[in-house]
Symmetry: C2
Subunit: 151 residues, 2 copies
């Protein structure tokens, strides 16, 4: 989905070696984490509960807490990315390059928008107020094609 495994420009969202990434982050490699990662990869922008269901199908059993732990640990170490548009529970994605999101105000559908700049932060604030800014998160809000037809 989203042609993530096709290397059009070879820059970013190719599948990564999760085991290696986990070890590199000082995290243990467990069946649960691998399954959670695969679920995130296979289900773009899924939320924790979706992941839980997918992984249950895969592993048979896994606890809610294990899913949250895995998601949090991997997100914290940049192996996956957590996004959370206003009004939505947290969603997860395996693309960790700097890109943005476009959300439909009506049906909440969310799609990726590539970033023209690429590297974070891709925008510079006029006045940083002394903050050390490392990311400019951009969320575009609008109405998706199918919701335009409905209304």
């Amino acid at each position: 989905m989203y042609c993530d495994f096709m290397s059009e420009s070879e820059i970013s969202h190719d599948p990564i070696d999760v085991r290696e990434a986990l070890r590199g982050a000082g995290l243990q490699v467990t069946a649960q984490r691998l399954a959670v990662y695969q679920a995130v990869q296979a289900t773009p922008h899924a939320m924790a509960d979706d992941i839980l269901q997918v992984v249950k199908n895969e592993l048979g059993v896994i606890s809610k807490q294990a899913v949250y732990d895995a998601l949090n640990a991997m997100a914290e170490h940049g192996i996956i990315r957590r996004i959370q548009p206003a009004g939505s529970p947290a969603r997860y994605e395996h693309r960790v390059d700097n890109h943005h999101h476009l959300v439909c105000r009506q049906c909440n559908t969310l799609i990726d928008i590539d970033c023209a700049i690429g590297e974070a932060p891709c925008l510079i604030a006029e006045h940083d107020h002394g903050y050390i800014i490392d990311e400019a998160e951009v969320t575009y809000w609008g109405v998706c094609p199918s919701c335009q037809n409905v209304s």
Copy 2:
């Protein structure tokens, strides 16, 4: 839609006539709503529960639901604005012009960042994928001065 009744030179955070704004939106003017608006104005980026406390001090009693109703109604009609940075409950602000936010990853402090463009959407996505985009929400993430000293 955003502050259309204000002249160019005062496109900003001057106090507005809430009664008038409420009536203009077809909403009734009630003591609860006025108090909620004043609390939002007096407590920048406060969350619903903070507002509840502030208004309780003001009015003596008000229900949680009345606060939520007032916040939602006013946000829906552009009298106040709801923001919700990832990981935080909803916050409210009386500035309804197009501006952005800078959040400290450590202490979650949130400050306003003026938008150089001013009018929404201030950024254009390269590919709109058929969406009708009306807003580009920008959230800068970083570390605030005092957290820089602590670490």
